[in-house]
Assembly symmetry: C2
Homo-oligomer: 363 residues x 2
């Protein structure tokens, strides 16, 4: 077995989910992640935990969804019952064909997602992590060789996560007491209040790789222009140069250089999809390029991401309005050049360099 | 997709388990059965049922079991919870490497089996079927080409199951009111009482392929010699020419031409493992040769099988003694030549030909 697969498995059961004896562990993984599942079972056996694996197969999902009627989707009782009895959930991604769902009606996929919602909510109460096993199809999406993609994936994970936590903590300490945030980069000039919101430090705990600091804005506070200069994928199609104008927290105008209709359908999903659910800052310097894979792209240093839709559970106190939506779609802004982030009127990052980093004064 | 895979999937969800809308369906299948799982999802989508798949992977199991301590095995709560909420269970076999477990301590496999017992018992209350997807490794075990094995597997399944049921019913009608059964073949001369026991007609309902009629003997009634002239596999090793002498239902003497120690360990598992739990008669004429695969071998025409260990749930009335054991190991006797089966003193099968079949008088 590739030593990196074992390293990945160890991270998942120790650093990410702190598995101990007698924990019931639910793994959801695609067929093509077999190597990682074998390594996980080895680690889980060593710890005396109890794993079971739910098999994700996009060919089977496609076949099923094509035959199902949209109105017949229901929550799977047996999946929900299993989730309730689980202590730890390890969600493994890894595509075999990024276009496998291209001939499935998006409405059916949405119906399947809605039926799964109670299981998702149950999962959020467990110790869980989302990760990715490197596959040829994801390499293809990233425009990398398969071996190059493996190096990239494991390079983003094989980090000193304690050092990462400490570095990110410096940004948390800036954002936690703050009120106003402004992100300026090229055509983007976006302002929002984060007053009273919590700040999340993900150093490989919710996601592996981790490496982001995130919060949710006060729902009606978002104002200004968001220009998404990194293409994003929605319903299997790429949206280029999306421009969103916000007033009192809501998108009031939008256009896109390519696939504007896809953006339009996204914004029309529900009321929450026209609002911002998350503001995140990528801080994983092990990720040095975009790979068309949001789990990695949103952690990349020199990027800020904004999610349209559902707010972050961990960031919104109970007494504050929580932006609800059936979607949570991250879009990226490159902040490596001609950019700054201002917090309560003070610049805290310029051209991707934070105030607490070397080179900030020169930038 | 191979039409035969679709035929197989249709049989499983219609004939075998009668799936309807809203049924929760649990599939347990190995990675290498992907084609069948895709076909099942297609069928289940068409019927509006709700499938989930638990992934069986022998490499992962091996890795897990090698690291676990024997005394740490416990029932998996989340698997048990899922089973309770399930309506239909489809268990798919299909090996990738028949020797995958060869370097796992048999005691650990036994411990894993005991921990799974409550889930198994729960499953027996559902609509369930056990089947097999054809793989290269099973073909190798059967000493057939991969394509030859596929033809064999699907040939055994693509039957007129209603006609099979009717043919088998003739044997059920003989056995149901009967008291004494005697099986004589070569060196085997085994007598037992089936007085008051129920007779099972499996025409592809519990197993696919089906094709057997079975019952359980009165526990202490088994007398005589069982000579197992078809090798059977136990703990990854083949036992040849096993000879078992029964007195008052229990094995009192035994030997074997090869791997006698394996036979000895089997008989010493528990008290029930030294008794007979089942007497079965193979009646699927679509299976015309042995394939070292019990799901098929025990259904072959011209064979009788006896199981050491646990009795048949469906065959023992509540007021009768039920032979309990953690094992249920089928062993085969070839009855195609120099043989007869007697019921209450009357010959009902001679050299593999039943009384209700053509050629019986001539034989």
């Amino acid at each position: 077995m590739d030593d990196r697969v074992r390293m990945h498995a160890e991270l998942l059961v120790d650093h990410c989910t702190d598995v101990s004896a007698d924990d019931n562990v639910l793994i959801r993984a695609p067929t093509q992640a077999e190597e990682l599942v074998v390594a996980l079972y080895e680690q889980l056996g060593e710890r005396g935990a109890r794993p079971t694996t739910s098999w994700l197969n996009s060919r089977a999902s496609r076949a099923y969804n094509r035959e199902m009627d949209s109105e017949d989707y229901r929550t799977k009782d047996h999946d929900l019952a299993a989730m309730k009895e689980t202590d730890v959930v390890i969600l493994v991604g890894g595509l075999r064909n990024a276009a496998e769902m291209s001939d499935v009606d998006p409405e059916k996929r949405a119906a399947a997602g809605r039926a799964r919602q109670p299981i998702l909510e149950e999962r959020l109460d467990k110790r869980w992590v989302i990760t990715k096993h490197p596959t040829a199809a994801d390499a293809q999406k990233a425009e990398m060789s398969t071996e190059g993609w493996k190096e990239f994936v494991y390079g983003a994970m094989d980090r000193d996560w304690e050092a990462q936590r400490e570095r990110q903590e410096q940004l948390v300490e800036i954002l936690d007491p703050a009120s106003e945030v402004r992100v300026v980069s090229g055509e983007t000039d976006l302002r929002m209040s984060i007053d009273g919101m919590e700040t999340l430090n993900d150093y490989g705990t919710g996601n592996m790789p981790g490496g982001e600091v995130a919060t949710s804005p006060v729902v009606d506070s978002v104002e200004g222009t968001l220009f998404v200069d990194v293409p994003f994928r929605e319903s299997g199609r790429e949206v280029h140069d999306a421009r969103l104008e916000f007033e009192e927290g809501e998108v009031v105008e939008f256009d896109a250089g390519r696939n504007e209709d896809v953006l339009e359908r996204l914004l029309e999903t529900d009321a929450g999809a026209r609002r911002v659910g998350e503001l995140g800052v990528g801080m994983n310097r092990g990720i040095d390029r975009l790979s068309h894979n949001m789990l990695f792209d949103e952690k990349m240093g020199d990027t800020v991401h904004v999610a349209l839709g559902e707010a972050m559970d961990e960031c919104v106190p109970d007494d504050r309005e929580f932006n609800e939506s059936s979607r949570h779609v991250d879009v990226l802004v490159d902040v490596s050049e001609n950019s700054f982030i201002e917090v309560d009127g003070e610049v805290i990052q310029r051209d991707g360099v934070f105030r607490f980093e070397e080179g900030f004064e020169r930038a």
